[in-house]
Symmetry: C3
Subunit: 351 residues, 3 copies
Amino acid sequence: MKKSLLALAVLGAFAGAASAQSSVTVYGIVDLGFASTDTGAAGNSRTNGINSGGQSASRIGFKGTEDLGNGLKALFQLEATIAADTGSSFTAATGNSGGFNRFATVGLQSATFGTVLLGRQTSVVKDAYDQIDPFGDGGTVGAISNIFFNGTLSGDLGRISNSVKYTSNSYSGFKANAAYGFGEVAGSTSANSNYGLGLGYANGPLNVQYAYNNQDSTNAALANISKTKAHFLGLTYDFGVVKLHGAFADTKVDFPVGNDGKYRNYLLGVSAPVGPGTIFASYAVNDNKTTGSVDQDTKKFAISYSYDLSKRTNLYTGYSKTSNDANVKLGTSAANGSDPSIFNVGIRHKF
Amino acid sequence: MKKSLLALAVLGAFAGAASAQSSVTVYGIVDLGFASTDTGAAGNSRTNGINSGGQSASRIGFKGTEDLGNGLKALFQLEATIAADTGSSFTAATGNSGGFNRFATVGLQSATFGTVLLGRQTSVVKDAYDQIDPFGDGGTVGAISNIFFNGTLSGDLGRISNSVKYTSNSYSGFKANAAYGFGEVAGSTSANSNYGLGLGYANGPLNVQYAYNNQDSTNAALANISKTKAHFLGLTYDFGVVKLHGAFADTKVDFPVGNDGKYRNYLLGVSAPVGPGTIFASYAVNDNKTTGSVDQDTKKFAISYSYDLSKRTNLYTGYSKTSNDANVKLGTSAANGSDPSIFNVGIRHKF
Amino acid sequence: MKKSLLALAVLGAFAGAASAQSSVTVYGIVDLGFASTDTGAAGNSRTNGINSGGQSASRIGFKGTEDLGNGLKALFQLEATIAADTGSSFTAATGNSGGFNRFATVGLQSATFGTVLLGRQTSVVKDAYDQIDPFGDGGTVGAISNIFFNGTLSGDLGRISNSVKYTSNSYSGFKANAAYGFGEVAGSTSANSNYGLGLGYANGPLNVQYAYNNQDSTNAALANISKTKAHFLGLTYDFGVVKLHGAFADTKVDFPVGNDGKYRNYLLGVSAPVGPGTIFASYAVNDNKTTGSVDQDTKKFAISYSYDLSKRTNLYTGYSKTSNDANVKLGTSAANGSDPSIFNVGIRHKF
């Protein structure tokens, strides 16, 4: 239980505090474990070590809510990834903007009209696939964004700076969202900008999510801006004994000259209570359909088992293998055609 | 209300805790909004985007007080600027030392003798103009330090590392402070050092602040150290329906050889409750009086409207325009003689 | 008292909360003071300033414990050094990995089997000498690691990334620990790896600590890995009026080719209540016994006085002088044979 909730519970029980009281909540995850990573290259390609974020990115955050009355609330959130294996944090590493790279937002939530947030936040496409991926797009083993969309949204790339996002309230399970990320290139409203639209239905055992995202490239010559257009459609159905996950994505990179890039993605997954824990597995494909592309497809299989010690702490183990065709490298692959794999076992603690 | 205060309130009400109990307070501001910024350069000079700190720099801090008895307290404060639009934080950007760039202090406060703080903190000149500027030297629209002192104290430059500062208690409204920043250059007590003296009177509707600051330049050849000497005098008078703000500054840069730099500054400002919010406006001048300087003056007009949703959350909008003479560029100007402007609308939430 | 403890105390007293409740504790130290540092070089070698960490490194941390039942607990800790004199923090400076450079750990603690922690943490050798050094290996004046082990473990170098550490519970005062730090070099389990073993006995006035550490160098050519093998043995005995400290260390650097490095260290120290405070002093030697080494020994004397204003806040002053033989420079020495010294006076506040 968070400190602020504790304090509020005490106040609520004993002091009859006004409902508008709010506070900062300090929260986060420390996830560390042994990992054996193989890039699949010829020769000495395996690295053993203690890695951060095997199941979920280690992180620290600060967030809060203020009740403004009349069904209106102010919200803020600041959240940073932590490289807990070395401590290194708040610095810009690969696929990480540095600082509060995960969330840096403030906005308003209305019980009538929904929520508007400004700042750095998840794209609507990431909002969709996070709900569909058995691994919740988390960790180093199974995250869907690792090969979906040809890898262009992996890790921190599913987050947008300088953005405004609207999320509707839920109406009988239906919910929509829309986001716009400013490109902030002088004299151009297009370069580096980003927009997305999402629609979802979550009710009982069924969850269906659709999202579309357009990312314009940054380019000094505005006529040379390429546009990466990504559609995502996914669903999960919870049968109780097992939950099925299915996803499809279509990505097109419109280049001003030359062949456009075309990629299709498929994912089938399951999650199920097994013994004292839960098993997660997925099989995903990145099908490169660009005109002229030869042997550039990638397939990935991932499986993980999670065992809860409490609601906040669990042990986990996982394995994944990525198979690259002869002329492509995705995942942690070091060279075209190599097949990277990872095995891990660790502990994740939420605070 | 802060967590610590909550907890203390509970303790106070139910546990009869000793008055010396203290704690860490986590606090901050997230301020984000739409901004349209024009450098005033020829061609494509306008950038639209979501910017951090339109009204006040986004920040996160940790502070606390310990009652040592006999009217003595120990104090500490750690405060960092947040670039909430991209999340990037704790890194050294322009005019930002990185880390806890705003405050990193520890010291003692005596009910009899006043307060001594060590570390990184605001200069006494910044302490003065923060009180006089209608914009409190905050935000991207109207901050006084943007053109005052020829722009040499803008943003983070009004803060001093490696410093000791004494602030007296208030005597019938009179209050004095003095600061010294060590230069920390081996073998020289002068190079890079900084000292300042301030005196203020705040009583009823009147607030008068005077401060003087001397900054020695860092220079390998000690004989070449230049000294930037800045005087600031300002006052505000609150008539109730309107508060008037006036400021004057005189800056001299003593160069060991060649012409000394000379700058005069003037500011007139108002702040007033208008409708459901408050309006702030200022007109400021940087008059370059250096011998031989031609067409190097700058004028700036800024106006802002702030509407409170609560004590902690408000909406704001603002506009400012800086007019540079033909041979000077201050503010966000890209080229001599250009006239930068900014319009913004945003939300500021304090936690 | 920490916020979380406050909240828990309130809960415990009034709400009869379950024992498993836990929380985040925000804690730290801000230690700032005047320091006059002389590198001992010819000419202008003295620097005066306000320095951070004169007695203990300034730091901020987040930690917590979750009771999992059956004598099992989950633990995490994130702790970062703060350069409180300039605010600069979370960045990688000399002897500092950046981010949460002091601790970034998660693990399990069993009332039966002891504690296992993963991540970045202190080496077992540092765990030992921290207990024996009168200065607790803290601050800029007397830290033992400044010259022990030929300076190879000074500051942040006594901490290990990518590591797993086991610490036993205490049995009649006996306690053991063991750590392994993965080298994380592809294809090599040796390069850059680190392991250590420690054994201690602490009972009544006596504390004896032994630890051994082996650090393999990182080297592209695996046959060229050198091994730094360090033994440490220390004890303290508290006579009440005075506590005696003694330490011995033996370090051997096995080079694949050429002469191995050999270093012996000795420390004698006292700590004693004197007047209203406590005095700490030590005399330490780094004896370079490498074959062929001439005039490469270093001796260091350090003394400090600490005066408590409360349990959390104290004033301190200290002085140390390092004497380098003609062909060696350790400590803050700038050139072979120079004798660096430091004097400081400051305030340390724990929150």
